[in-house]
């Protein structure tokens, strides 16, 4: 099994840390992982994306241009990466701020309205964990326990008190993900 994932959106949405948690979760279950950010001069508000590969085998190229799953969290990312999903692959997006929705018929599209849900839960910081929950509900690549372990590994110690809130957000994401179109 090899799963090639891109996560893209605005800087500040927690794109890179979400990828990191996913990668650490893979390590927790003894898989090979790579985490390759598109690093740039942009910070908060700019664009950010990260490629995460989780595999049972050694990973050849960590740099890829076709993905099994795309998690696209702003309009620019949908416009840029919708076409990069492999036929039969999956696209996840948040409807917030999206005017042109994903259109491809040959991939499965799921919507996770995490921005709205995060504001209801009164913490915009857990936005990425709601997304992660929605993704993992459809694509159970890593076990929930391993995600919690991954969280502990990737969060600095001073933030460990936030782990229960993050767990709650992941569970909430699992509840609110909806299929828009399935192949």
């Amino acid at each position: 099994m090899t799963e090639e994932i891109i996560i893209a959106g605005f800087g500040g949405q927690g794109i890179l840390s979400m990828g990191k948690i996913l990668a650490y979760s893979g390590i927790m279950q003894e898989q090979e992982v790579s985490w390759m950010p598109s690093y740039g001069p942009e910070m908060r508000g700019g664009t950010a994306n990260v490629t995460v590969i989780i595999s049972d085998e050694p990973i050849s190229s960590p740099i890829i241009n076709k993905f099994d799953s795309a998690i696209l969290l702003n309009q620019q990312s949908v416009d840029k990466f919708e076409k990069s999903v492999k036929p039969g692959g999956m696209l996840f997006y948040d409807g917030n701020g999206i005017s042109r929705h994903p259109e491809r018929e040959d991939i499965s599209v799921y919507r996770i309205d995490a921005a709205e849900e995060a504001s209801k839960m009164e913490s915009s910081r857990i936005f990425n964990m709601i997304i992660l929950g929605g993704f993992l509900k459809i694509k159970p690549l890593v076990k929930f326990d391993n995600v919690v372990k991954g969280l502990a590994e990737s969060l600095p110690g001073r933030h460990h008190s936030l782990i229960p809130l993050n767990e709650k957000a992941i569970r909430r994401g699992m509840e609110i993900v909806k299929a828009v179109h399935e192949v």
Binding site: W35, Y39, P41, S60, S61, P62, I64
Partner: protein, 349 residues
């Protein structure tokens, strides 16, 4: 762990005595990690942010003259600044480790990954007839492993060693197994300027010799070292080469992408194999020549306008067709593009 962090942690564990550096993207994590990790509390290692790249390399010169395990890191424009110091260190026959996390150039260029410093790294870089041992990791694991190897080679030959990597490997995270902590040295080489009593002649560290005959003699001596490196230190790796009809030659990040290209080409029925130089100086000339005799064509893939391809051409020496495919300025080639280049150059009739 990020590639840059792996280098920093591996250096602490290799028993490094000091790091001198100045921040520049995409390698600032080396300095940041070392500062946060406080190795002076773990092993007594010194970490110092110098006022410039030039100051940092000259601090390395000083540390190396005392026989200490010292290193610095930077990215392309910063490495250019260090070249004077590197030439002096090579001229004074001192060991040190330099890490170049390459970004696109020329000039300030971009901050994205590139391999366009190959000439600078493998031809010496600064003035004078000298070479630097150049190691090219292609994974975060090798970023860590080559630190200890770099120090060992530098001390074996009393010559600078360089890890030539790029922004992609520096920023990327992968699993890495780190070595156990090695103790720092307690005894120093006999040439080191460590202060003396009356029991021995003084040690002189200099790269200056105003007598031309003496300077030529010195040059012959260091050329002998470079010949010995070519005999003893060549490292390379081959993948899917047993039945290959076409050979892709690539190092570092390009080699990772080319692993995928080899799979894609084989899916299309093109028997491709990958030859990955691990040491860029000494370049694996003989093994590449032997390998190339069995194939129909060689494609050199680099994130540059074509630099390593000159070493490939020298190795193959006109026996078979050699092509180059490259992207520049911080753009990474895709695995598909490389297969297409291979088809266009060789496989299509």
């Amino acid at each position: 762990m990020k590639g840059n962090e792996a280098i920093a942690e591996a250096a602490i564990r290799a028993g490094a005595d000091a790091y001198f550096g100045y921040p520049i993207t995409p390698q600032s994590e080396v300095l940041e990690y070392l500062m946060a990790e406080k190795p002076h509390e773990r092993t007594g290692m010194v970490v110092l942010q110098a006022e410039s790249e030039i100051a940092a390399i000259n601090m390395v010169y000083g540390g190396a003259a005392c026989g200490r395990k010292v290193f610095t890191s930077s990215s392309s424009p910063g490495i250019s600044l260090k070249q004077e110091g590197l030439s002096y260190i090579a001229g004074a026959e001192l060991p040190c480790l330099v890490v170049n996390v390459v970004r696109g150039g020329p000039g300030l260029g971009t901050i994205q990954p590139a391999q366009s410093d190959y000439f600078q790294a493998t031809r010496g870089g600064g003035h004078g007839d000298y070479r630097v041992i150049v190691l090219a990791p292609y994974s975060v694991q090798e970023m860590a492993d080559f630190v200890g190897m770099g120090f060992d080679l530098a001390f074996k030959y009393r010559n600078p060693a360089m890890i030539l990597t790029d922004g992609a490997l520096g920023q990327m995270m992968e699993k890495v197994l780190l070595k156990e902590q090695q103790p720092r040295m307690t005894e120093y080489p006999e040439w080191a300027t460590t202060g003396k009593g009356t029991d021995r002649e003084k040690n002189v560290i200099t790269s200056l010799d105003l007598d031309s005959a003496g300077q030529e003699k010195f040059n012959r001596k260091i050329q002998d070292k470079y010949r010995q490196m070519k005999e003893e230190e060549v490292r390379f790796e081959v993948t899917e080469c047993e039945d290959a009809e076409y050979l892709i030659v690539a190092y570092g990040t390009s080699a990772r992408i080319c692993q995928k290209s080899v799979q894609l080409a084989r899916d299309k029925g093109i028997k491709a194999g990958l030859f990955r130089p691990v040491t860029l100086f000494p370049f694996p000339e003989k093994p590449l020549r032997e390998m190339a005799e069995k194939v129909k064509g060689v494609l050199s893939v680099e994130m540059s306008a074509g630099q390593m391809v000159e070493d490939v051409l020298l190795a193959v020496n006109g026996r078979i067709k050699v092509g180059h495919y490259g992207r520049m300025g911080g753009i990474l080639p895709t695995a598909d593009e490389i297969v297409e280049a291979l088809e266009n150059k060789f496989a299509k009739k």
